[in-house]
């Protein structure tokens, strides 16, 4: 047996059980245990404890999350209530302006409309670009997200919309009324593009339900969540966009 270079301490025994020793020390402690039944028995007991505690508490990881848990709402409104609110906005707008008429409609001035306008303009300007739709391409996603997070001063994420058929094209930095904004662009197989516009510190901090607007022929869902305001824009029907907005919200907001 190799001689331990340093006496094995009680702390070493715990670190051995917890796998927190470097390899050389791990071997030394193992050698020590082979010669010290009392220490080996203690290590075995600690291991049993650890296994049993994990067995007891691990299944909690697999439990479905309580429905309200994780939704960032000051009022603890449920997602259901948010959807009801979003649906109400749609119904009112549709009722007043003629849903079937299918024309454009402008929602009453509400907090966030500046964001809507900027998002619509940014969408209209950049999505038709063939060669330079983005500054940083989606294959450099980590770099893109870190860069934009640093400029906006908040940790951003580019949501994954693969399940909905959209891949990240990339993103760019833009300037909004009061500071920087980020735009992430997505594209489906048919070349249809979707943009997510993000600003920090919108005038009205807090939480809002989804709101819907159309501008420049672009459908937009927008919402505010803490320090960030989001606007998801695409040339598609409200229903199609609503599904995508749900996917984005679920990933970013929870």
């Amino acid at each position: 047996m190799t001689k331990p270079s340093e006496p094995v301490s009680e702390m070493d025994l715990h670190a051995f059980v917890d796998g927190q020793l470097d390899e050389a020390r791990q071997r030394e402690v193992a050698a020590h245990l082979a010669e010290n039944p009392e220490a080996a028995a203690r290590v075995a007991a600690y291991r049993t404890q650890k296994t049993a505690l994990k067995a007891a508490f691990d299944p909690i990881l697999k439990e479905p999350l309580p429905r309200q848990l994780g939704l960032p709402t000051a009022s603890r409104r449920t997602l259901h209530a948010r959807w009801a609110a979003a649906a109400a906005v749609l119904l009112v707008a549709g009722g007043v302006l003629g849903w079937q008429a299918g024309g454009m409609f402008t929602p009453a001035a509400a907090p966030g409309t500046a964001v809507v306008h900027q998002a619509a303009v940014a969408h209209a300007v950049f999505t038709p670009q063939k060669r330079h739709p983005v500054e940083v391409r989606g294959d450099e996603e980590a770099h893109l997200v870190t860069w934009l997070s640093n400029v906006l001063g908040a940790p951003l994420r580019a949501p994954r919309l693969v399940d909905a058929g959209y891949l990240l094209v990339g993103g760019r930095l833009l300037s909004a009324t009061d500071g920087p904004a980020a735009q992430f662009m997505y594209e489906d197989k048919g070349g249809r593009r979707l943009t997510l516009y993000v600003v920090t510190d919108p005038a009205q901090r807090g939480k809002t339900a989804f709101r819907y607007a159309e501008e420049k022929g672009v459908a937009i869902f927008y919402w505010i969540d803490g320090p960030l305001g989001y606007a998801l824009a695409g040339k598609m029907t409200r229903e199609e966009l609503l599904k995508l907005a749900d996917a984005v919200y679920t990933q970013l907001g929870r």
């Binding site: 009680e10 702390m11 715990h14 670190a15 917890d18 927190q20 203690r42 007991a45 600690y46 404890q49 650890k50 049993a52 505690l53 994990k54 067995a55 007891a56 508490f57 691990d58 299944p59 909690i60 990881l61 697999k62 439990e63 999350l65 309580p66 309200q68 848990l69 994780g70 960032p72 000051a74 603890r76 870190t146 997070s149 640093n150 001063g153 908040a154 940790p155 994420r157 969540d225 803490g226 320090p227 990933q251 929870r254």
Partner: protein, 169 residues
Amino acid sequence: MIVDQIPHLRRYARALVGDREQADDLVQDCLERAWSRMHLWRAGTNIRAWLFTILHNLHINAARRHNSQPRSFDAAAADLPVRPTQEDELNVRDLWQAFGRLPEPQRAAILLISVEEMSYGDAAAVLDIPVGTLMSRIHRGRERLRELMANPGDNPGNDTRTSQQGRKR
């Protein structure tokens, strides 16, 4: 990111306080605080340790506010998710009982290390104590568990409630 940590936060909170609803309230408070302070989190640093620190502080503050000792974990009444298998039921139940009788600082240290499998450094940061203090809590906690398991007869909390009405799924 944050969402990925929710199951871990729930597990730690439940193991710490026992009661499911109370634990989930604690996690919800933690998440709300985290989102409202997202700007304080530096991208690239350990978000898991950051979240657990928030949770731990909320838990300590709540206990202080209610001017109560941190509750001792009642293994019999706890919303543990599954029954242990028959063969090791006795053993595991004894261990839970014993675990519930440890002082809370020792329980927290053991949970972060044994169940959450954090590094000693991260766990010490979460609990805001030096690593040496963390190690001594782990040592005392594990030794106490070993004694209690070796002499289950000494365990005055070893009543029959577990097999009667106290068991929840």
